[in-house]
């Protein structure tokens, strides 16, 4: 047992002596969370718009005020011709233009045929869609406020409830994603590099000749990164709750437990990669390509998996991060208990068992 601890201590020394890498490992999740939280966001806020008001009556002004007051829009100028609208779009100054025709209020009150034109910059189609939707709903609001005293035939009132994330914060989506990414990176990539480094510098041979059992060697190599990962998880959760206002609705214990499970999965992947890589660079590259990239693409946090073609959806099933992402969302955002995620947990456990089995077996075979 003592020999094992000596090994673990040595691993710690390695990590500790490489201050730069350690720094990156500890601060990376912080930077990611802050970046996603405050700088990069796919939420649409303060989009610049222009209004071309040909009527300038009570109604158009009321609607214009509502639009300008909305936090989604930032009215930067009033324009006075279609040509001006075109020019402003081309200069990239606005994302949306709202055009009111002549006699708007008149048409609205007397002919039931009032129209408003929304022109959007669809070079980013998703944003264009979102903006026209926002604008339409604000206009609809105005219309409702006009008719609230009258009973119109055939009105359907749609009531929208945004479950789990009523403010539609992007953070709810990417915090679980960042957790998966960071754990994968720290555990898998760093562990595999650490093991391969021993092979590269020639110390692995000596260790293998020693009485220390191969199984213990591997475990000793993974323990420091396990601890760093736990630290990372704690950091991410603290940041989420106190800086991004993303609460942990479900059981913290369950969340931590599942995270530890995923950590072990990532560690076993790291060991598997280290078996095949001969140099640290290969280990790093293989980790990036086969772990980091699939996690980014197939876990579901950047692109919804359900939108992918079926073959890719099938592939996404073997990416462990996909299941972890579901688990974290369920527990942290939706507040569900173990009964809701037992299936995903079982899948992760299965994957881990298989991976560990293969990598340890491979490790032993390489000796002979």
């Amino acid at each position: 047992m003592n020999q094992f601890l000596v090994f673990v201590k040595k691993e710690w020394l390695h990590i500790w002596r490489d201050r730069r890498t350690l720094f990156i490992l500890i601060w990376m999740p912080v930077v990611q969370i802050l970046l996603y939280g405050f700088a990069l966001t796919n939420e649409v806020k303060n989009s610049r718009i222009a209004i071309f008001d040909q009527s300038r009556d009570l109604s158009t002004q009321a609607i214009s005020e509502k639009l300008a007051a909305s936090r989604y829009f930032n009215l930067i100028k009033n324009v006075y011709s279609y040509k001006e609208i075109e020019a402003t779009f081309r200069q990239g100054k606005i994302r949306l233009a709202v055009v009111f025709p002549n006699n708007f209020r008149n048409d609205l009150l007397h002919t039931n045929h009032a129209q408003i034109q929304l022109i959007a910059d669809a070079s980013d189609p998703n944003t264009a869609n979102t903006l026209t939707n926002y604008a339409s709903s604000i206009i609809n609001d105005y219309q409702q406020s006009l008719t609230q005293n009258e009973e119109l035939p055939y009105t359907i009132k749609t009531q929208v409830r945004m479950l789990y994330n009523p403010e539609l914060k992007g953070a709810y989506n990417f915090v679980p994603g960042v957790m998966a990414l960071v754990l994968m990176l720290v555990c898998a990539m760093m562990t595999s590099i650490s093991i391969v480094r021993e092979k590269e510098i020639g110390t692995m041979e000596v260790i293998l000749v020693s009485p220390l059992k191969p199984f213990r060697i591997i475990i000793a190599k993974t323990i420091p990164y396990l601890i760093v990962s736990l630290l990372n998880i704690a950091t991410i959760l603290l940041l989420s709750v106190f800086v991004l206002d993303v609460p942990i609705v479900g059981s913290l214990l369950l969340l931590i437990g599942e995270s530890i499970l995923f950590t072990v999965t990532a560690l076993s992947l790291g060991i598997l990669i280290s078996n095949t890589a001969k140099t640290q660079q290969t280990a790093q590259f293989t980790s990036m390509m086969s772990l980091f990239l699939p996690t980014l693409l197939f876990s579901g946090f950047l692109f919804p998996v359900e939108n992918m073609p079926i073959p890719l959806q099938v592939i996404s099933n073997i990416v462990p991060a996909k299941w972890y992402y579901i688990i974290v969302k369920s527990v942290m955002i939706k507040g569900l208990g173990f009964s809701a995620i037992w299936k995903e947990t079982l899948i992760l456990v299965g994957m881990t068992a298989v991976l560990l089995g293969i990598s340890i077996k491979n490790f032993k075979i390489r000796l002979s």
Binding site: Q3, K9, L13, H14, T203, E205, V206, V209, S368
Partner: protein, 248 residues
């Protein structure tokens, strides 16, 4: 469990990788306290043979015992009683001298007191007093080599295996290194060293020369030079190696 003073025995030891026979029925014995040179060109099978003796790979056929223990069945016991120094010196550059000693001594199960004792001894022998906290990275190559060797025998094993221990080192430093080896042999540690430097062969008690996976010569350097009418081990080797069909 050393019988007849033989610390290593090998009988028709063979290692095959598929259709390729790396080590072809080699047989030899090494006596306690001997400095045994295991020579041969690159690709002759030296490293493969040594790996079998160290317990790093299982033989395909044949028998062997190391420190009296069978390589097939008593692998764990062998490991406890041997030391090993790899070609690349097997030291951690980002750890200090003291930490390296502590690590290797620790994985061989030495107690904390013993480790402390050994550290002081080692440091004194190598004239590295005051440098315990220096990172190995900062040591010159010759010092690293000597340190690696001392660490390889820190647990006083019966045998120490040295895999090309003097690669990349100048001849003067090599001589100093061999002094260390002599001292260890005098203490009763058997030295099993592979090398492709033929001049080092003359430092050994006996040498074996491997060609194409077989042992083509096994005797003391003096006898070999007489047998092959050669003025140096280099010549002996050339005569034997000319017949070789394998090279790296």
């Amino acid at each position: 469990m050393v019988q007849n003073n033989e610390v290593i025995t090998a009988k028709e030891l063979t290692k095959k990788f598929g259709a390729f026979t790396a080590v072809d029925k080699i047989s030899f014995e090494v006596q306690k306290g001997e400095i045994f040179g295991f020579l041969g060109a690159n690709g002759a099978g030296k490293t493969t043979a040594m790996r079998m003796l160290c317990g790093l790979s299982l033989p395909s056929s044949g028998e062997a015992t190391v420190a009296g223990y069978d390589v097939y069945k008593e692998n764990e016991l062998i490991k406890k009683n041997i030391g090993y120094m790899s070609q690349k010196f097997s030291l951690y550059e980002d750890l200090t001298i003291k930490e390296n000693i502590r690590f290797y001594a620790g994985i061989y199960g030495l107690t904390d007191e013993k480790i402390k004792e050994k550290t002081e001894l080692l440091v004194k022998e190598l004239h590295l007093e005051g440098e315990e906290k220096t990172l190995v990275r900062a040591l010159p190559l010759g010092w690293k080599q000597k340190l690696a060797f001392s660490i390889a025998i820190v647990h006083d094993p019966a045998i120490v295996f040295l895999d090309e221990p003097t690669g990349g080192v100048d001849p003067v430093t090599r001589r100093e290194f061999w002094t260390l080896i002599y001292e260890a042999a005098e203490r009763g540690i058997t030295i099993f060293v592979t090398t492709h430097y033929m001049d080092e062969a003359e430092y050994c008690n006996r040498v074996s020369i491997m060609v194409d996976g077989r042992i083509d010569a096994l005797d003391s350097p003096a006898n070999l030079m007489k047998t092959y009418s050669a003025a140096s081990m280099d010549e002996v080797f050339l005569q034997l190696a000319r017949k070789a069909s394998r090279s790296e």
